[in-house]
Symmetry: C2
């Protein structure tokens, strides 16, 4: 019997990289365990996981939306409506009854594309958002957006020369899925000097480069609002991108999971690609992804989301249905979470006032924290930071001196990973180095979430750490 070693396994697995839960996050968990020991000698009393957009995790503790959880509790144990009738608002009881009539037990497999009734709700939500119709039969409920992205990338990679255009910096799900499914990333660069904007020209350059290398481009990934950048696309750019997909026969993969996280909607509003494609009457095949993990919902643990296919033939829809049917169905807890997200309480409903207060509080806290963190990071020597108008993150650039880069090299680390590890060791704050998202040669960044309560104390730690660092390693 030979021992099972990594060499004997699928080589694509070794190529997969996912820094959001990589070295830094693993070390943070070890430190969290160590903190429980007496006399642990650590210079901090808590580990703060700023590496992942996980609003409800311990220590961040963003409260869930009460309406969502009340409906979910009734779906888990419908007898509660009789056993504790006065505990639930009337609209919650009504909603749970309506869902139960459609779904039956949430312990049963649903349709593999998701409960038809909930897909109809999603279609109405999209139609109201955009002013254009949406077909529930072309909507797939998923266990979070990631599952859908992985499936679509898997579908588009038809040969080892197939490539997908991805922004740099990007959310590493894209490169990880491409590595797993043996496709090639075609990187295009976002412009940090213009609030991380996307330009058609830079994508055309990337296409030309890919062409030279014999790579066949199959799709274009756009993350809007951006991750890790928080950037918002304007409609003119979106139109240009759709026309580009038309010109090069690309499938447009629009990651729109942060569409509800807008901090300055007056100047940086969100427009869906579905609306742009519909308005232009473009034939571009579009898949747009949404999720209950972000927004004000923050229900990461439910694993819920959807993708909508536009300009897909029935034949391709049937192929997707077959593939998702092998996995049986998305989690029902996630599906009813999607229903709550797309059908929140309306003015006049018993739950409305509380829902409004809860969601307003989350929006306001995120916007003010983001702004304050960006301002104070920008005031630090050697740091520049675009003040994100959307999503949950900041992606500051840090200048790292030769001395710092040499020290990193001696430790066998990328300079930004070396910086991030030091930050974790000294403050307990866990961020993700820019090398996990991609950046221009010779530039260094890190991504951190804007979810930590007690933001003043939190930024204070970042500042103190950075000033000590600059003292130790200098500016040049």
């Amino acid at each position: 019997m030979r021992q099972l070693t990594v060499d004997a396994l699928n080589p694509t697995f070794q190529k997969v990289q996912y820094a959001v839960r990589g070295e830094l996050a693993i070390k943070a968990e070890l430190l969290r365990d160590k903190l429980k020991e007496p006399n642990n000698g650590l210079p901090f009393d808590k580990v703060i996981s700023s590496n992942i957009g996980n609003p409800q995790q311990k220590g961040l503790d963003q409260p869930p939306i009460t309406f969502t959880r009340q409906v979910a509790a009734l779906m888990e144990w419908p007898d509660l409506a009789n056993l504790a009738p006065n505990v639930f608002p009337k609209d919650v009881i009504q909603r749970a009854k309506e869902l139960s009539a459609e779904i039956g037990s949430i312990g049963a497999y649903s349709h593999s594309q998701g409960v038809p009734f909930i897909r109809q709700s999603v279609a109405k939500f999209i139609a109201e958002r955009d002013g254009y119709p949406s077909n529930p039969n072309h909507i797939f409920l998923t266990g979070g957006a990631s599952a859908g992205v992985s499936l679509l990338i898997n579908m588009l990679i038809s040969s080892p020369k197939s490539g997908i255009l991805i922004p740099i910096p990007q959310y590493p799900l894209y490169t990880a899925s491409l590595a797993q499914h043996q496709g090639l990333p075609i990187p295009y660069y976002l412009d940090e000097s213009k609030e991380w904007s996307t330009s058609v020209a830079s994508i055309e350059e990337a296409l030309e480069e890919a062409h030279k290398e014999g790579i066949i481009p199959k799709g274009l990934v756009i993350i809007n609002p951006g991750n890790p950048t928080g950037a918002l696309l304007d409609e003119a750019t979106q139109e240009g991108l759709v026309q580009l997909c038309e010109k090069y026969s690309l499938v447009l993969l629009a990651d729109e999971v942060y569409q509800a996280n807008l901090h300055r909607a007056e100047t940086h509003p969100f427009t869906s690609f579905k609306k742009v494609v519909a308005k232009l009457q473009s034939p571009v095949p579009l898949v747009s992804f949404h999720s209950i993990s972000k927004g004000v919902s923050g229900e990461c643990g439910r694993r819920g989301g959807y993708f909508e296919c536009t300009n897909f033939s029935e034949e391709v829809i049937a192929l997707l249905y077959k593939m998702v049917s092998v996995g049986l169905c998305p989690p029902l807890a996630g599906q009813i979470g999607v229903d709550s997200m797309v059908r929140p309480p309306k003015p006049g409903d018993e739950s409305y006032e509380l829902w409004k207060k809860e969601t307003d509080t989350i929006h306001a806290a995120l916007a003010s924290r983001t702004q304050l963190m960006a301002k104070r990071l920008n005031a630090l020597p050697g740091v520049s930071c675009v003040d994100s108008p959307g999503a949950l993150y900041l992606y500051p650039q840090i200048k790292l001196s030769k001395k710092a880069r040499d020290a990193a090299g001696a430790a066998g680390k990328e300079p930004d990973a070396f910086y991030s590890l030091a930050l974790l060791d000294e403050t307990g704050i866990c961020v993700v180095p820019g090398s996990g998202f991609g950046q221009k040669e010779g530039e260094w960044h890190y991504r951190l979430t804007c979810l930590c309560p007690g933001v003043d104390e939190y930024v204070g730690k970042l500042e103190k750490f950075h000033r000590n660092w600059m003292e130790k390693y200098g500016e040049e």
Copy 2:
């Protein structure tokens, strides 16, 4: 712009077949819609989905375990413990408090391998079941067993010549995952004449055949209790299979999701492969899969399960962790469902009596339905059916006459699919043809679940249909 057609997509997607939710199931849904129309002209008043082991679905309505749902409701909305304190048994409140202290909000991502505390509970459950220790760090909680199976098959396929031994008949998840991940199935046949037994000799024959074709065997899939066969392996056979894996350096993939569905445990008990490997002190790498979708839990919609790795190096465990981290985490509703399954109420707990009554009822109903259905199917001309000692299914063999086969050919269908479609059209009962699971050349079967209440009426429909069929098509 070229239209997006199936030809331009990943060719592996076209090869994937999953009959459990295939042609028959899709037609059943259309008939269910048609039933709602007045004067629909259908010869039945309900569609019965016997194609899939989905106990809680509408029409079957196996009730969920109250304890599981009460804990889940409290996890959804923890305030309920204060707002309606008398509604919940004390052990339920205690359990929810314990889980909340460990997990925090179920709206947060957990550790990508699953909540550490729940993995500890699973390890205890395994250790108590087998009498051998289990390592929680080598357990991965999953969104149902399917997600884990797909991942492990993907991992083992290291080249286009990699193959995995799969039983015939098999649950089609295995061939579907192999098609998607570009591996080759190496079929070995179960012996219907000996209660669908598994023999080491038939696997060695299959290995020899594979060797001739240049296929490199990487793993052996065993489904115990069997799906679709319901067969139980005896320990001596299991020992022989482990030794075979040792001899040929195969990873053993043990699908044990039906381990709690035993109808004649005195003569057909379940022994886990973990226990056999531990007892033999074998170095064989083993992955065993379990799920909350089957057993008495029947919580398909929660999407919960786990796999335990035995004799895997830390390096391979780290590789698996990285891969699951890209998908973030399994659904929390599924994870707490796993906790309820592996830590049910104990004698003396307030919930125990009800839990005992509920689970006894489910076990007894399944056992008596299975036995009655097998007996009456066996009494039909041209039908023979192994009386399954486990799982949720029967897999009767049907003799189909030349006239029937010719009619099927004229309709462009496999003979067993032709039979199953006629059954659906005439009775509303949806089963899956044997061609979806695999069978010997010239033999025909179908799989049906033993979950339908009102079994007498149900079997009556099957009998009437079959007798009419025999009248129409004859025996030879």
